[in-house]
């Protein structure tokens, strides 16, 4: 190679670059058309007023954003989504960890346990919501029948503002825990059994072993799951279409559903665009945090 004349090497390098760009370009074009361009489009459109049959859109600056923050529904939806995330994320991660600890032991019927935990992940959310609908139906639903045995009055779980969001949260936790379990299960299997024996010799209790040994070792997995859970807390809304449609009185409305409704039911594209931009901003912040976290993890290796 050392004898290769300079211009030939340059030629090679140019050809490599050309091929590289050529191979990457179909994907890059599609990414541009369906990710970067629409994101830019949303930002642009969020700065204009709504087009009506009488008036074309005109530049409005940040007005759409100001309207949003003055809109009680928006504040309600943000509050809902924050509560939804604040409950769903820790609950599904904690249950996933418990599931993984169990599924990793030599318990009776382990294959069934693993399948049972993971099956919700494989169901379409829209179908899962149908199944849950029967549980929540007042009076004749399974939940009311069971609580009825203990003399409790029937509850309209999906139809009253106090419980609707919680009913939606329960479905999300049910759907997510098994998915996250898989990652914990994989991580647990890489932990050498000597650690457990060493802890046993030291006389450590199960709780101590969990807190001092397992949880720190599972930390990278937890971070990875956390990022997924954060993304999902924006993304998972399919069940709203079946269970509550965001109601009653916006009690269970989440951001993505609100974007959908604003754009396709109320035809208020600028407001929907402003909402989209706000959600993308939050996701972008998560991305930055994630990339930093990833960097640090790579340095440790």
């Amino acid at each position: 190679m050392t004898q290769t004349p300079d211009h030939a090497r340059n030629h090679d390098r140019r050809r490599m670059a050309l091929y590289g760009w050529m191979l990457a370009s179909p994907a890059l074009i599609l990414l541009t058309v369906f990710a970067f361009l629409p994101a830019g489009h949303a930002l642009w459109q969020s700065l204009f007023t709504r087009t009506t049959s009488r008036r074309p859109a005109r530049f409005a600056g940040l007005d759409n954003y100001i309207y949003l923050f003055e809109d009680p529904t928006f504040l309600k939806v943000v509050h809902n989504n924050l509560l939804y995330a604040a409950v769903t994320i820790p609950a599904s991660i904690a249950i996933a960890l418990v599931m993984a600890l169990w599924a990793n032991q030599a318990l009776r019927g382990r294959a069934f346990l693993r399948t049972a935990f993971f099956v919700p992940t494989m169901l379409p959310m829209i179908a899962a919501a149908n199944l849950w609908l029967f549980f929540y139906t007042p009076d004749i639903g399974l939940i009311d029948r069971i609580t009825g045995l203990f003399g409790a009055a029937p509850v309209n779980w999906l139809g009253q503002p106090d419980t609707a969001l919680w009913a939606v949260i329960a479905v999300s936790v049910w759907k997510e825990a098994g998915f996250f379990m898989v990652f914990y299960l994989a991580a647990l299997q890489t932990i050498p059994p000597d650690l457990r024996e060493a802890a046993a010799i030291e006389g450590a209790s199960r709780a101590t072993y969990l807190r001092r040994v397992l949880l720190p070792l599972l930390m990278p997995t937890t971070l990875f799951i956390l990022v997924n859970a954060l993304i999902n807390s924006v993304k998972l809304i399919d069940h709203l279409f079946i269970l509550t449609k965001g109601g009653p009185d916006n009690a269970s409305k989440l951001l993505l559903y609100w974007i959908w409704e604003t754009a396709f039911s109320y035809f208020d594209r600028p407001a929907a665009a402003a909402l989209t931009c706000l959600v993308l901003l939050v996701l972008g912040l998560i991305a930055v945090a994630q990339f930093r976290g990833l960097d640090r993890r790579i340095h440790y290796r």
Binding site: V119, A127, N130, F264
Partner: protein, 276 residues
């Protein structure tokens, strides 16, 4: 694997087994109840009579209620289209990022990774405008196209290709292979497990996807199963619990069966493909 000295073994194991089984039964209960309701008459299902006779009429009623066959074919066409597109685009781009040095590669790769967080789900409104402008409204391609250049797929393929020893490529080059030959003969065969994992996750994701197909379809000719099911089960359509259960089971059956058969592969696939 028993917790020998940590706690009295027998008792812990029994408690663990009990707890695990209770949780598992709770987790599978919605599906179990649907399976039970689907094979009972609507009044028996609502009345929750455990000893009621079995029937398959709900499946017949559900099947006749809406063009399911069409929806199945649409879903099938959709997942195949998406998968074929993803394989092609992500292979080429992953190969480029793994093996070709070109100016701006790092920067472009970071831009690609950014898409992991610019969710197509959040961009429904603007993607709708773009897909409509391209004449893709109410087409299978319109449902699939936004997902084809998946940043996750590109990342996955790049990782897989980077693990292929360069010696293999050099050997193939001596044999006279160009970049296409090297890709086809060396890299793609070496990445087979990654392709399988990616395929399983992709099929599961797009078989189950709902919001974007709901927005971009308008007719039974293109609608996938999930959207069909949501219309069928809407309260306005006045269908009862037993029939909805039957319809729900029908829609989840193909993927659920596939999962039960390829369970190990599915779990491996989800491990490889954390971010879908």
């Amino acid at each position: 694997m028993t917790a020998r000295a940590l706690t009295p073994p027998a008792l812990t194991l029994t408690l663990d087994t009990l707890g695990a089984w209770v949780l598992a039964l709770v987790w599978i209960a919605p599906l179990g109840f649907a399976a039970w309701a689907a094979v009972h008459s609507p009044t028996d299902a609502v009345g929750f009579r455990l000893s009621a006779p079995l029937t398959l009429s709900n499946f017949a009623t559900a099947w006749e209620g809406t063009p399911w066959l069409r929806y199945f074919l649409n879903s099938f066409a959709l997942v195949s289209t998406v998968l074929a597109g993803q394989f092609l685009l992500c292979t080429l781009a992953g190969f480029a990022f793994a093996r070709f040095a070109f100016p701006g590669r790092e920067l472009v790769f970071y831009a690609v990774l950014l898409q992991l967080f610019i969710l197509p789900e959040v961009l429904i409104v603007d993607n709708y405008a773009i897909a409509s402008a391209l004449g893709l409204f109410d087409t299978i391609l319109g449902i699939g196209l936004p997902y084809m250049a998946s940043a996750f797929g590109i990342f996955l393929m790049r990782q897989a290709f980077r693990q292929v020893p360069v010696e293999l490529e050099e050997a193939a080059r001596i044999e006279g292979c160009g970049w296409a030959g090297v890709l086809w003969r060396v890299y793609i065969p070496a990445a087979k497990p990654t392709y399988l994992a990616y395929a399983l996750v992709s099929v599961a994701t797009h078989w189950n996807n709902f919001l974007w197909p709901l927005v971009i379809t308008n007719s039974a000719e293109t609608r996938p199963l999930t959207v069909g099911l949501s219309l069928f089960a809407a309260p306005e359509s006045g269908v009862n619990i037993a029939v909805i259960s039957a319809a729900t089971l029908m829609t989840v059956a193909p993927l659920l069966l596939a999962f039960l058969i390829f369970q190990r592969q599915f779990i491996q696939a989800f491990l490889r493909a954390g971010i879908r």
